[in-house]
Symmetry: C2
Subunit: 477 residues, 2 copies
């Protein structure tokens, strides 16, 4: 593609994206396609001759756009709502062209050092001490995997050479509400799923520190070696906050690695009023916070902070001859030494551009507004005789369900009603909510997190829920 | 950022990138900065107030551009040369704005199904049968990790639950020239580094099938269970090709998982004349090919093909309630089931756009030209009394060194001379070559792989090597 063609197509994309970022409401949040629709609309083999970009873009609009789930839509309230903000999108455009592969300082001094700078800025905003060294991974799954691998290495450094075959029984602990990536990491590391002990939570879905203490004591007595505890600040279903201070005290006493999964809620440590919830996290060995979740950075970018990054290096560092460079002896950091992935994109650029363009003040304001909107919605739920809230709302996610006044059906019928309600509301295309299960109940979740979500969108979600429950309840009676 | 500001900044970036992609020769390939330069040029804390994008972009140009290593420069001959081609860059721009998170079919039908389509196209071009199911990962490190995790699960399915603690001694095999990611995977999986047996290579750096057979027999006799063999088509140092057919026969006989690492050279299976080198790879259990290496797709995108993807699913699949969707029962594939990373970017878009825009014919022509350029360079080396070639050139990488006619120094002095030569040539900024070690000799590597690299660039590299070796040899005498 010659420069003038690139300009032409680039301009067309700028126009398209400008309209998309400002006007994604024109699309249904969840697409109206069935499995196989996209595949069937495209040829089964690659073209022999190259095609003009216009033709490819036309197919993008014809086949792919109708099959997109619009994560960048202000009515997206599913899972955790995220935003690809404009400065982040521009940064990714640049990063793609620069094609940095930051395995070594030498292969990208800019990406290597900007990662340090941007993670330092974020660390400062979060109020974490400088003793936490940072590294960017793709996802929290990979961050937590590194945390647990480092914990394994810290407890049993010989496993790097000799493996787990002769090791005593080992254990990792997390709340029953911890993320499934902890399960996957434990399996991958060869510890076995049974090595993960899910500690019971209290009635607000927080890990019970007393139950954790009991579990540790019981395992020690049975000859099992505790490796690590994963505490979560903002669990996936309800955004509950484990008692980090008490857990940290236990971990210190027991000499066990503490990993804090703050992938979603970690950014709220920037809000002065929210800092107390993070009490004790500065005692953690490692922490993960995902700027691609609630910091308006396009997916993917996960920030991993570790007070013992030397252990991560000891666990993984392995430098073949063809990657030896002189700079390592002159104080340059080679990012490949702190990860299992050799190749690394220039992810720091988008974090740096978003932090600068939005500014700390702007970020705090956006987070506070999202929390306000969630509280507002929770208030509507609480005040309505046909709905009930099923968990506290510490951040920007509301767990609730419909329970029409005078409803006389079984628990299973109430679950089915809520599943129908969810489908009906999502079918409007105006909003998208997801679900979870709590105490064996089907639960609706409204997660606020998109930068363009306003009170209008939240109110619209509520109006749709009210309208559709009225219709469904009528049809039931 | 409002739409008109986005347009303004977007246009400015299109201009900048258009000039960059066409004119990256204006920059030195390796930047002229020292460790710490970037960090010191930027503030230590995030700004409190948001800043205009112009100011951020000005700092990008002032601080970061001089610290970039220009992977997108036609004089980049280090490691494996790669290209962020224009259609791939445009695709990444779109993908960033769309911010798809393709963990479930529902969370992006377009990304889920386009991944299937684009990987099907690539599979067809590579001549692999449809029995290979594909999935896109970020890097070959992660792809090979999944391959070995699946091999572990296939041999010992109970490890998912009970871990490796009670298992018999296990072994993974690869050539002494295999990539370090195999070592890292074995460590991560809890097998221990000792579980990896490096099989000796022949004098052309190919794994010796007879030595592999002996190793397997010896280990079996010693009560060690072979888990997997990694064969490489295009090793990192010399791009040598392991005897895949013979290795595949051994693996089938022994019931051992065969993973083929064709991260770099796999794309040459598209060239009819090169297909014989791939003889036997269709017998592999899994294969990795990296479109971000030599298929002009911006980093990162690694294609993993597996004939037993059900094993990958069994090893990892784990679906919490909040990720249950109805589509799974209607034939939709959820990509989170074939990976340890829950989150997944819309990587297929760039592969699809590059395959369409360049076309199979265009790709074959580019690969053939890169191979021709490398052979040309190898010919110059062979014909020159002051240089010697140190490995065959099966693809587009040449391993060589200077050995000035009449040189009387020690082996260590010859190594030092070549290290100086490498530094001198790289200091010109016109080209960048990297190095390796073979048979305890310091070896220069010239890797051709950038789409805009022409005979002019390769000739210039040769001229610089000749000029600088003449200067260095004079100063030695």
């Amino acid at each position: 593609m010659d420069p003038s063609s690139f300009r032409r197509h680039g301009y067309a994309l700028v126009e398209w994206i400008a309209e998309y970022l400002a006007g994604s409401e024109r699309y249904p949040v969840l697409p109206r396609v069935a499995p196989g629709d996209v595949r069937r609309a495209l040829p089964a083999t690659a073209p022999e001759r190259g095609e003009p970009f216009e033709a490819i873009f036309a197919d993008f609009e014809r086949v792919l756009v109708p099959a997109l789930t619009h994560w960048n839509h202000p009515g997206f309230f599913g899972y955790f709502a995220i935003t690809a903000s404009a400065p982040g999108v521009l940064a990714e455009f640049l990063a793609a062209a620069l094609n940095q592969q930051a395995m070594l300082w030498r292969t990208s001094p800019a990406a290597t050092e900007l990662e340090d700078v941007a993670l330092g800025w974020l660390r400062g905003l979060l109020g974490l001490p400088d003793s936490f060294e940072g590294v960017i991974y793709d996802t929290a799954s990979i961050a937590s995997l590194h945390a647990l691998a480092a914990a394994r290495h810290a407890a049993l450094p010989q496993t790097r050479e000799t493996g787990l075959a002769g090791c005593p029984p080992l254990r990792v602990y997390c709340s029953e509400h911890a993320h499934s990536s902890v399960d996957k990491a434990v399996i991958l590391l060869g510890l076995g799923h049974r090595a993960l002990r899910h500690v019971p939570a209290d009635d607000e879905f927080r890990m019970r520190a007393d139950a954790l203490g009991d579990a540790l004591a019981e395992d020690r007595a049975a000859g099992i070696t505790p490796l690590a505890v994963v505490a979560t600040i903002g669990t996936t279903s309800t955004t509950s906050v484990d008692p980090v201070r008490a857990v940290a005290d236990l971990c210190r006493r027991e000499g066990v690695w503490l990993h804090v999964d703050a992938a979603y809620a970690g950014v709220t440590a920037m809000l002065p009023g929210y800092r107390p919830r993070f009490d004790g996290w500065e005692q953690a060995d490692s922490i993960v916070v995902n700027p691609h979740k609630w910091l308006f950075v396009p997916f993917d970018l996960s920030a991993f902070y570790c007070r013992r990054m030397d252990v991560v290096r000891q666990a993984f560092s392995l430098v073949p001859e063809y990657l030896q460079t002189a700079e390592a002896s002159r104080g340059a950091r080679n990012l490949m030494d702190t990860g299992i992935q050799l190749g690394r994109r220039f992810r720091a650029l988008k974090l740096w551009m978003v932090l600068r363009h939005v500014g700390a003040e702007g970020i705090r304001a956006a987070l506070a507004e999202h929390i306000r909107l969630a509280q507002l919605f929770a208030g509507w739920v609480d005040a309505d005789p046909d709905f009930e809230r099923l968990a506290p709302v510490p951040f920007s996610v509301v767990c609730f369900r419909a329970r029409p006044h005078g409803f006389r059906g079984t628990a299973a019928e109430l679950d089915a009603l809520n599943a129908q309600l969810l489908d009906a509301v999502n079918a409007t295309g105006e909003v998208f909510l997801s679900h979870t299960r709590l105490n064996d109940r089907f639960v609706l979740r409204l997660a606020v997190g998109h930068l363009r979500t306003t009170e209008v969108h939240v109110a619209r979600a509520w109006a749709l829920l009210k309208r559709h429950i009225a219709q469904l309840a009528t049809s039931i009676r």
